[in-house]
């Protein structure tokens, strides 16, 4: 019975995976000339990188960019989405433009923004902003427009003004949709920042990976990948948790 397995057992596959990794690397079971550090070497490198502050500095640089870009993009996306979802004419006016911009991958903006903004802190933040803004906007508009019109009508007969209906009925009911957007984009922001840092920015986890590559330090690259995986997961889980906290009682 799968559901009888205690939560701690979920880690078992991970442990087996790490053990296999260690064995394969130790006994050089990888064919060809690939340099493949064992798990223990990666852990050791993680310790060195942390102790020297290199990992911490680069991690904080990436984290700061993600947080600023993501928060600004989400807030802007929710705000514009609220207006578009609520005011039919604004939606009609903006929808074609948004539909045109939405499919452009965030990284597609990179060459353009490198020329417009130059290579500085604003560049990755802007990329993250774009990466979060459109999907959150899209999900907010969808969420608001999917709210059953009867809720709005009943609130109206109960004497509520439009502003009050929007804030106390429509937005709460659109929350599940909005959170879907936020959750997806929180993980996506990390994927995008790494790419941006690899190409253009001299600091951050992505930049660290590129430097490790030029020094053929596979252990450092793997440390970075693990940090990245954990952060993507942590961000997505955070929003999952937040959504559950805010809607569990009624949805």
């Amino acid at each position: 019975m799968l559901n009888k397995i205690r939560p701690g057992w979920g880690l078992l596959p991970v442990v087996i995976f790490l053990a296999l990794w260690e064995l394969v690397a130790r006994f050089n079971l990888v064919p060809g000339q690939l340099s493949f550090p064992p798990f223990s070497a990666v852990v050791l490198e993680f310790y060195h990188l942390t102790a020297s502050g290199v990992l911490g500095d680069n991690f904080l640089a990436s984290l700061g960019r993600v947080l600023i870009g993501f928060c600004a993009g989400s807030i802007a996306g929710i705000a514009v989405g609220m207006i578009m979802g609520w005011v039919e004419n604004i939606n009609k006016a903006l929808h074609p433009i948004i539909s045109l911009f939405y499919p452009i991958p965030a990284l597609g903006w990179l060459p353009l923004l490198m020329l417009w903004i130059g290579i500085n802190e604003m560049l990755p933040i802007t990329i993250i902003f774009i990466c979060s803004f459109f999907p959150v906007l899209y999900n907010t508009v969808t969420g608001i427009r999917n709210v059953d019109k009867q809720y709005i009508q009943v609130a109206r007969t109960l004497g509520a003004s439009d502003a009050r209906i929007l804030t106390t009925v429509v937005m709460p009911l659109a929350l599940p949709n909005i959170f879907t957007g936020l959750r997806l984009e929180a993980g996506m922001a990390w994927r995008v920042i790494i790419a941006a840092e690899m190409v253009a920015i001299p600091t951050g986890i992505g930049a660290l990976m590129m430097r490790a590559e030029s020094l053929i330090r596979i252990d450092i690259i793997i440390v970075c990948l693990i940090v990245l995986a954990v952060m993507c997961l942590a961000f997505e889980r955070f929003f999952q948790y937040l959504e559950a906290r805010m809607t569990a009682r009624w949805s």
């Binding site: 009867q150 609130a155 109206r156 007969t157 109960l158 509520a160 009911l173 929350l175 809607t247 949805s251």
Partner: protein, 358 residues
């Protein structure tokens, strides 16, 4: 509580509807699905655009948006806010009215008591039964002390016993509060139980506005008659009490026994389905059994309608297709008919022809 008046309301479904609902009255808007009943409720609430005029106590409210009309509206689907608990749902219209939290809280408490749902205060709608949701939705609509109450098929989503029970309760509550009410339904029986007066609506037009029993006994035209089941309505020439709650009335030369105890009977009515047709002479006492001639046979979707002539009376009987197919009825054939005693409805009032629509 004000009277409601609709003056020449036109909307894409409504055709020149004029209707007065008196102060404290419960007016049932009765009609088939798609007749425009809900539209009329929406017009009173200000949720739909329309031409013409709506007046509350003689004052036009056409310029007022829905959130300032002070109308309590109970929707067919109830639409409780799923993200708010019961108390917050009920309080919604109070906070919109800018009452202080203390005032709102005591009003919510009062309504919870009135609807006997105090124990549900902190529950969320998804954990409520149909009947409980019903009470919460009604409490929410009544909380801001609306001038007018609109109920759109409020019991249609409930099982029969609950609906029946709540119907009585709703009527009592409406009388106690003395709130002018428009009640939308397509159910004739519900309409007759609830209504002070019934407005029969078909295809967006008002066909008849009358007391419930008068709608049944004096349908103003064929459309109304068809909607209430095309009853056979017979004027009585004489009536005499036989005691023990039965009375004999004479209609078109036939003596008909009806269950009645009281004033003299002026009209009787029974639905086509309440005439039983037999090809052979039925056994039993000769009560409400007559010889008749089949004059017409009209199959419809649900039943076969059979025209009969008994004495001087032209009657309409109805039977399911499967029964009709087992019999060999034909126009001109002699048959026997039995009137189901308990299904005959009687009308006492003498002031017959005056219609009550104003």
């Amino acid at each position: 509580m004000p009277a409601i008046e609709l003056k020449n309301i036109c909307q894409y479904i409504c055709r020149d509807v004029s209707l007065k609902i008196r102060d404290k009255e419960l007016m049932v808007l009765l009609g088939p699905n798609g007749a425009g009943k809900t539209t009329i409720a929406n017009i009173i609430a200000g949720l739909t655009d329309y031409q013409g005029s709506v007046l509350f106590d003689g004052v036009a409210v056409d310029k007022l948006p829905a959130n300032r009309r002070e109308v309590g509206y109970l929707f067919q689907d109830l639409v409780l806010f799923p993200h708010l608990d019961v108390a917050a749902n009920i309080a919604y219209g109070l906070t919109a009215k800018k009452q202080t939290p203390q005032q709102a809280q005591s009003r919510v408490k009062q309504l919870l008591q009135m609807m006997k749902i105090e124990h549900l205060a902190s529950r969320y709608p998804k954990h409520l039964s149909g009947g409980e949701k019903q009470r919460v939705a009604l409490a929410r609509a009544l909380a801001p002390s609306p001038k007018v109450l609109l109920l759109d098929e409020p019991l249609s989503s409930l099982d029969m016993p609950t609906a029946k029970y709540l119907r009585t309760e709703l009527k009592q509550l409406q009388q106690r509060l003395g709130i002018t009410t428009a009640y939308v339904t397509h159910d004739l029986q519900e309409a007759e139980e609830m209504a002070d007066r019934i407005a029969v609506i078909q295809n967006g037009s008002l066909e008849q506005v009358d007391k419930p029993e008068r709608v049944f006994f004096y349908p103003r035209n064929e459309k109304v008659s068809d909607f209430i089941g095309a009853p056979n309505i017979l004027d009585c020439d004489y009536c005499r009490s036989l005691g023990k709650g039965v009375m004999e009335v004479g209609c078109g030369g036939l003596p008909i026994i009806v269950p009645h105890d009281g004033e003299s009977v002026h009209r009787i009515a029974f639905l086509p389905g309440d005439i039983h047709i037999s090809e052979t002479h039925p056994p039993g006492p000769e009560v409400n059994r007559f010889q008749a001639l089949v004059t017409s046979i009209n199959p419809t979707d649900e039943t076969v309608r059979i025209g009969l002539k008994a004495g001087a009376l032209n009657l309409l009987a109805g039977m399911p297709h499967y029964i009709f197919e087992d019999m060999s009825l034909a126009v001109g054939k002699e048959v026997f008919l039995i009137l189901k005693l308990r299904r005959i409805r009687v009308y006492e009032n003498k002031d017959s022809q005056r219609s009550d629509s104003n």
